[in-house]
Amino acid sequence: MTHNIKKNIAPSFQDRLGVRPDGKDTALITGAEALMRSLEHEGVETIFGYPGGAIMPSYDALFDHTGTLNHILVRHEQGAAHAAQGYARASGRVGVCLVTSGPGATNTVTGIADAMIDSTPIVVIAGQVGKAFLGTDAFQEVDLLGITQPITKWSYQIRRAEDVAWAVARAFYIAKSGRPGPVVLDFAKNAQVEKTDYVPVAVDYIRSYMPVPEVDQEIVAQAADLINKAERPLVLVGQGVELGNAQEELKTFLEKADMPAGCTLLGLSALPTEHPLNKGMLGMHGNLGPNVNTNKCDLLISVGMRFDDRVTGKLDTYAKQAKIIHFDIDPAEINKNVKADIAVLGDCKDTLKAVTELLKPAKHKEWIDSFLTYEKVEEEKVIRPELHPLGKELTMGEVVRAVSDATNHEGILVTDVGQNQMIAARYFKYSKDRSIITSGGFGTMGFCLPAAIGAAFGRPDRTVCAFMGDGGLQMCIQELGTIMEQRAPVKIIVLNNNYLGNVRQWQAMFFNGRYSFTPMANPDYLKVAGAYDIPSCRVTSRDQLQRAVQDMIETDGPFLLEVCVMEEGNVLPMTPPGGSVNQMLLEC
């Protein structure tokens, strides 16, 4: 079988590894050692993992590489997967996970599915029983490839040591190119111990895989033409802009044609919050203006977003009056949910630039001012009561804003799932890119704590603020152990309302207030933090908030801030399920 192998390794790297100039190693090495060298060759610096029987040879090889490969021992393999995601989202690099076979591997399945739907580049290397044991129901054997096939971009079972270099190179290439996604390598134990002649491999071409479609200049011209003619254009900004590092190109694009923009949950920090053309968040709990005006614009321009059902609401009544231009790197997304009039395929860093060149400078003052009416209504009915409540009880929103202020709006926001996620996304402010890490498409509770650890390692220069509810914290609470051991400087903010808040809100709104198993008894989180040697503080009233937040930010290292918030608070505005995007409820 011919692989597309290119032997182009930079000489300086060769020198470092002590590899001979002709690329051949001086001695045969084990598959496990080949794995370590391949990871180094890919420039991996951080691995999140948990050892076990089937992966032990690799852990033994890792023991000699701890100078270059920083391995973080988590407390549950699910934590490893989410940490790899957090690392990838914060840094833009590929997150790496090393786990054992059987239960170790299956514990990463949630993280892999989450990475697939949110297009996050991670490589999960799982141990597997030896070749001779495959298919015999051996100890800790599981058909990982079969289980993860629908939720990975690519997967491969390494059964021979000589395949390691190629498989790792291919895995990283696939994970990070085009629309990023997760890749699984199932590493059989015999392949880890058998010896091979290691030659570093780099993959930058797979004949059946075209990660970035060619840009069609004709289509670019058509798109520019439509934009030039539009009177009420609205731009929808998605994660694609962050993945493509096209934040500057986006700004120029918007400013030249004076177009207002709404951001999806994952695209929130692609455009700074304070940018005059940033009209807020789209979606079920987004801001009123961009949602209502979706059904008033005459041209809808989607950049790197996939028209998820949380954003569109009922598709029958979604932007029917507008022409639609869809910028995307993945041809399968075009016309999947919403029919596009023009599909601009390609990397948005290039396509936005190409279209901008053909744009005529324009002004849409009246259209942009039309957002003000909705902003006023939302400010009065929803935002002010949330940020400046009249009652004694603390709202989630005021806590989020206090923390955002304390980091000068430069922190990385990591959220869990539910009310904490929606409120944090809405009230945190973003001035830098890659500032929001949240489980969007999958909504995995428990995502926050491990992802925040990953983010702290991915961007040690930034302040990581991890917001979670009492429910989400407990789902991956064992990762407090990782934080303790690593002294990872994660600022953990637990918004404790003694409920599974989002479900309770839906039960209140749609199930006659029947709180079926949503009230939850909580432990004393300060004692839990104390047991993990993590400084902590509890806030029960407004006058304690500012001081506590300040303490948290100024403390070196991790901190757990528990805030007892209003128990039956609601997230608004809301597009009810099956509702139309322009019919948001402002009260419930």
Binding site: G146, W154, I206, R207, S208, M210, D330, P331
Partner: protein
């Protein structure tokens, strides 16, 4: 919604597990595969799948792009019956006594240009190759005469009506573009 019979032709690398990935696209959307044929194509190392399914235009477009998206799938295209030349082979096991008693049966077999490939006192086997509709019609007619014991049909094999092999062109194009970009990089 109106359903049409579409034929999807997929070219992929010859790796294990790819068939599963391709059919999973159908399973996920609960779309039934009418017939499936997989074998080596005329290009070395490349496998060809011919899949037929009853569905509407919107769905077939989505399925085809999702199959094409898989790493190791080279190309995937869908066609309606008038855009391809298709053939199938079928075997009909008929009860010999019934066959002897109904002279109409022999006439029908001749009408459809089918061949009798095996005869013994218990059963006779008729083989027909041709387009899917004819195979179905022959089966219906024989069944009405009450002489069919067993019936099996192969999947469809199809060939496009364009005059060159698209995949060859695609592969050559990919290689050329890659080497071109490599030369530009080194320059």
């Amino acid at each position: 919604m109106d359903k049409t019979l579409y034929t999807i032709i997929v070219h992929s690398e010859n790796f294990a597990g790819l068939l599963n990935q391709v059919t999973a696209v159908f399973t996920r959307r609960q779309i039934n595969i009418e017939s499936l044929n997989v074998s080596a194509s005329s290009i070395k190392g490349v496998h060809k799948y011919t899949i037929t399914t009853w569905t509407d235009k919107d769905t077939i477009e989505k399925i085809t792009t999702q199959i094409a998206k898989k790493i190791d799938v080279l190309q995937a295209h869908y066609f309606t019956d008038d855009e391809i030349y298709q053939h199938e082979i079928a075997l009909y096991k008929l009860a010999t006594p019934a066959l002897e008693q109904a002279p109409e049966a022999s006439k029908v077999i001749r009408k459809y240009n089918a061949r009798i490939v095996e005869v013994n006192p218990v059963f006779a086997i008729v083989e027909k190759n041709g387009i899917s509709e004819d195979i179905t019609s022959l089966y219906e007619e024989l069944r009405e005469m009450g002489c069919v014991l067993q019936f099996v049909r192969s999947g469809r094999v199809a060939i496009t009506t364009s005059c060159f092999e698209r995949v060859n062109e695609y592969l050559a194009d990919r290689e050329a573009k890659y080497f071109q970009s490599k030369q530009q990089e080194e320059a």
